[in-house]
Symmetry: D2
Subunit: 435 residues, 4 copies
């Protein structure tokens, strides 16, 4: 997480101020439940809420205390007592630090997930708008980087839409994974705290009680969360790579928006580079990398160890802030993408009609030529065009073996572009529910 | 995937024979739909089914053809034609290799997921049985490897049960991710094949049509699948690590079953090592590693490239076979685990009662001592026991400041083990739905 | 490691036969040293060598014994005794299984490294030959996928040569890392075996004694080994990606050799796809992935645990066989690469001279125009050509502000291609030691 | 990189101030060379040095310019011109941004490597001191977490020393990998800049010229650098894991220093947890994770793309700052480690002498018992002690089959601890060059 690749709303989730505020709320909700159960005075719970709400927690002061006691939650509780006064002794009764830390981390992740889901929604909106705009804009479909057969630019965006719709669902599931709360005390036995406290705090904070915690909330949940972010990042890489390819000089079918005054290169004034998409490619590598330590965090020793903590202090913000930034950047790229249908058409025409080779092959087989023979007939007319250019249709017309099966009109009909677009609506209906 | 860590049922999914059989079924189901649509003769579809069902596909022969044509699906179709005869020209009409390859790969993954889910079920059964067996067997809970407070061995297993129940749900979701079928032709436009063929094949094979494929089924699905396997593997590592710790000489609270005639060490006849659990730790590292190339596979170029193929030929079998083996091995370890309650008790008693320090702390605060002061009072009696051994309760009784607040009987009551077990039923009900 | 991506020589290193043969040699060399030290009879050592050399070790029989004793080295020693007779009791005296296993694994890795180094040498030879062949073949240099300024195709290959020369040095260092031998007995104290045995075995097998082993050879060595393979694989990906780009339909400056009879697509007879390079991209992902579990293997518990073993049984063959295959395939791709200088020239000419924009910029600044102003002058003439095509030189000639500084002849001189090639020899001399 | 896990000296390398200062020096050295070659006036070079040295580069101002021009190097050069005046037009002549950025990044990595090497040196010093302090302190060697045979605590530390000595050598090699400079202009052809400029700048900054750069310095160098950091981190994890094990309640042979006033747990005042070592375990996971995107960065497109940039802005600081912090923390842990020889002795005695089982086995074989028979004889006396405790020696003395071969005195001699320590000096001489 570096400022260059951060957006304020996501970064704020990870600020010390937010963290201390969440800690306070967990403690104060727990006090409510403890008061309700008669463990602590109701007046104490009220005082704690009142003074805590009014307090500004002083990060520098808390850091100072932590340097002495070497324990972050104790440092916070000590500072809280400076605001709350004597009733502070009722705070954190029967709880352990992890109750606060883990529940807080999950709340931060849930909030982060909400932002990420909103980011995906914005991206989906941009993809849908541009997909319908270019639903029938013909462009060449490429496999292996080689011209294959015609598609439309809208289909490309529909594919990306479907992929990010899946990613949205995955993020919702990932959010669910971590939306739990543990207030179960040391080693998770509720020895010193009633399970009803956990239930109250969970409900108050929109979480579910963790069925069985062992001081810590089990880290398989977080592994799944960060692995999901890695998958979403990989989809970002896919779309970013597509744009980078489309902007290549020789292709130039689409281009990132280039603002007036922008400089593509300090040395070469003619350059307009897909730098945002390249940047997204790199950011995707980072988000993916964070999935690994999250998975290694699962195997904590016995009821818990604290090796996960340093990892999470880093990947918590790093992964969510980076992915938020990347999703938002990608939505902007799609939203303002410069799209060049004429260039798409001229590229389509580039191979002299070779992109229709399959249709010729199929037509020959339908005329009774064995598939193997038909393949050879088509390939022998295709390869010269591939190697030296030329007009595939003209060669076919001049090939006696081909003409023995297909007359001139039949051959010409096989070169019709619309033939390839007849099911675009079908696909759009599947993806968008409308065409 | 090596024989040492393979089980036959999972390995069979990845055999050439299985693959060719699935390819045949995809092609034959497609022929049915094509015949129904009038594209090919119904008699052809019938012949294809009849001859194909009867055929034994000869892997060596297919390999031989592939060496010539350098294309695996064409090699198979050529071989199929050797069995089917002239009607073979109606096979694969309007389809592309990826229609067969990708749908087949998904079928293999779905079958693999079914086995993995069954594996998890077996593991859950073992965990549940042993958890209830030791529901109230007291054992020390450890944080940071250090004695914390008492738990029960059943709680440890309940935690593992809850974790693998989550993993089961994740595997079901992962299976859903890849349970799709694409028969959409080159670059996925259905130009030469009616979308109803895809719908028919999907239904026949228990899959859903891929809403938008681009010759290939999008690889974000597979990334999610393999990432999920990585998370499951990480949970295996957690439980295996627990057993390794419990079997340590100084702990020895549980032990892998050691069969008569087994040798723990070629050099040291006294050894009984947790080698199965160590093995599981290593296998988990492997399954986790496979998640990464699966994520890198997402960003295929344009409508498709084939870089994913070599990865999947390796991780398809490697990840599923290894995880299947590991889950099955783990179920066996749990099922036959030697559990030593006496040793758990003697370890519990080892710290001279220090594990009750929190209760003393809380009791003092409830008597009106400020938390900070109470902490100091308890810690000053705890540290000598930590460092030199001794009886924590005796020291507390002899501490005038403590005794000013708590009398002898009150102190003794704080050392009651049952105090810690009172919510075991609550947790069991949450996890198992019964206690 | 799957047959499809294996070459026999590397695969043979990992066969059970090779492993047992190496085990035998380690044991037999150790017997020589033990006999020399008077620990066992010299006649026994001689018998062991004689009978062991003559023996064919029966993998099935060893597996059968292992199923009973559940220990691979004991199984082998039992089988060895079946060949050697009573003197077999002198084998393995004071040794532990790891002495045999770890030394054997290192020998296998050293042999694998030797093959990999030879693979790189073959690749370097191909790169050098093609680099000189195209030392002065002009082609466009691209940054961000966008035309930048002219380079030569030889320079591209020189870059790859320099990179693989570095990889060769890294492989030599990686080989050195693992070229050690440990015969130090249980927990590595030499309690039951004289360190001179280790020295003898090491020397006999071309290894160095491990300075301090703890039953196992420390796994940081192997982590470094496999991490190095991951870096080499990443370089393979770089060169493979270059070829994939060059073969794109719109670029088509080079192409993988396409053999007569080859089919690029089952559906589209016109296709010629860079499938080997795409395959290499995928294989690189795999080799890279194996670096991670190798790193996780380092933190064995205490003097040793056996979690590394399952990992190494998999990545030992998988990483080396796959990298060997990939390097060899890449050498073949380079060796037979179809290179199209005319297409390179026509692509170079494509941007209407924009690739000379930097020279115009510099010339203007040398004429006293402030860099910022010069940048704007050049960019305003470049952008129309970028967007609509046209002749950059003509526009510059028609721009009064430009002409105020540079006359027609000066402008024309700035569009000279040779200007960019004047230091090719310098670079070649740096890389190849000759130009 | 978060402040909690940062040390100022390493963090300073990555500050904007340091970066801009290095950029300036690269540009100014290049001006010297350009002036020497007569390309720019000598007075200009002098002015640039003079004004630049005196300047304080204003990060906020540069950021402001960057927001307009969207290019970091142009922003810096614009700001530099604000300090230097009209002669600034001679800066950056014929250079491209990457010349500055890549050379700067390498300088930062070289400086970081120097700090890391110094960190390792401090760790080695601590390890050596403690190793000699406990050269002959007996402790149990453990394999699989199970007592094996005696070692000394000094041997454990000698192993760590040898491992970090290897890591030092690896860091030196990694530093060498990235100690290169590129001033080769757009796409690396030196079209607009003489190669002698590069040679001059390299020499002035203690670097070597990159033999062939393509605008960027090839990223296989950086992949190797970060992979090496991942290996070093894995060694940290190994030593940290050892300490975590030793501090376990049941083992407690060593302990992290616990300062007065420190609190191990907010809830349990008796706790002293190995939190520093656990923290190191987590940090190791992070440093290891950064190796992956570094490897993915290698395959840049053609002469360069900029996808590596976002990765490096993150992992450059993150990996080096984290590893620096971890190495330094580990040195402190070792330096102040509390070591408990009495506890080591009592653990050693724990298994009733079972740790001598191998010696008994060997003695029996030396008396002519077949290995298999001897193994069974020893195992049948060992297992009861393993299972129920007891005195292994006494059981052996009472076993008639054993006594038929070994008399009482012979058996007792086999239980001598010194037997295991006789080669400690040998190992120390190998590792430290002295004993």
């Amino acid at each position: 997480m570096i400022p260059r690749y951060s957006r304020p709303e996501m970064a704020a989730i990870w600020s010390p101020e937010t963290r201390f505020r969440i800690w306070f709320e967990i403690e104060a909700h727990a006090c409510d439940a403890l008061a309700e159960l008669g463990v602590i005075p109701k007046s104490a719970a009220e005082t704690i809420w009142k003074m805590g709400k009014a307090a500004e927690f002083d990060t520098a002061r808390i850091d100072e205390i932590e340097r002495e006691v070497k324990h972050d939650v104790i440092a916070f509780l000590t500072h809280l007592a400076e605001h709350v006064g004597p009733d502070a002794r009722f705070v954190h009764q029967g709880m352990t630090s992890s109750d606060v830390l883990d529940t807080c981390f999950n709340i931060q992740l849930v909030r982060a997930a909400d932002l990420l889901i909103a980011d995906v929604d914005a991206l989906l909106a941009a993809l849908e708008r541009r997909a319908f705009e270019h639903k029938l804009t013909p462009t060449i479909g490429r496999s292996h980087g080689i011209h294959a057969e015609p598609v439309t630019f809208g289909l490309k965006l529909a594919q990306a839409y479907a992929e990010f719709a899946r990613n949205r669902a995955r993020l919702v599931a990932a959010r669910e994974e971590v939306a739990t709360c543990a207030i179960s005390g040391a080693v998770g036995t509720f020895a010193n705290i009633d399970p009803r406290v956990e239930e109250h705090v969970a409900a108050a904070l929109g979480l579910k009680p963790e069925p069985v915690s062992t001081q810590v909330i089990p880290r398989d949940r977080h592994a799944m969360f960060f692995a999901t972010l890695g998958v979403v990042a990989s989809s970002i890489e896919r779309l970013a790579t597509e744009i980078r390819h489309l902007q290549r000089t020789e292709v130039l079918e689409a281009e990132e928006y280039f603002s007036p005054g922008q400089k593509g290169s300090s040395a070469m004034p003619h350059k307009r580079n897909p730098v945002l998409s390249e940047n997204l490619t790199g950011l995707a590598r980072m988000v993916r990398a964070y999935a690994l330590p999250a998975m290694e965090n699962v195997a904590l020793w016995h009821e818990r160890d604290i090796s996960h903590s340093s990892v999470e202090r880093m990947i918590g913000p790093d992964a969510t802030v980076t992915l938020d930034f990347a999703l938002s950047r990608l939505a902007g790229v799609i939203d303002k993408l410069l799209i060049y249908p004429e260039r798409m058409q001229s590229n389509l025409d580039r191979l002299g009609g070779l992109v229709h080779s399959q249709r010729v092959l199929l037509a020959l087989t339908q005329k009774g030529v064995a598939r193997e023979d038909a393949y050879r007939l088509v390939q022998r007319n295709a390869m010269p065009v591939w190697e030296k250019g030329g007009d595939f249709l003209a060669l076919l017309k001049a090939d006696a073996d081909v003409r023995a099966r297909l007359d001139e009109a039949e051959l010409e009909a096989l070169f019709d572009l619309d033939y390839h677009l007849k099911h675009v609506d079908t696909v759009f209906r599947r993806v968008f529910g409308r065409a």
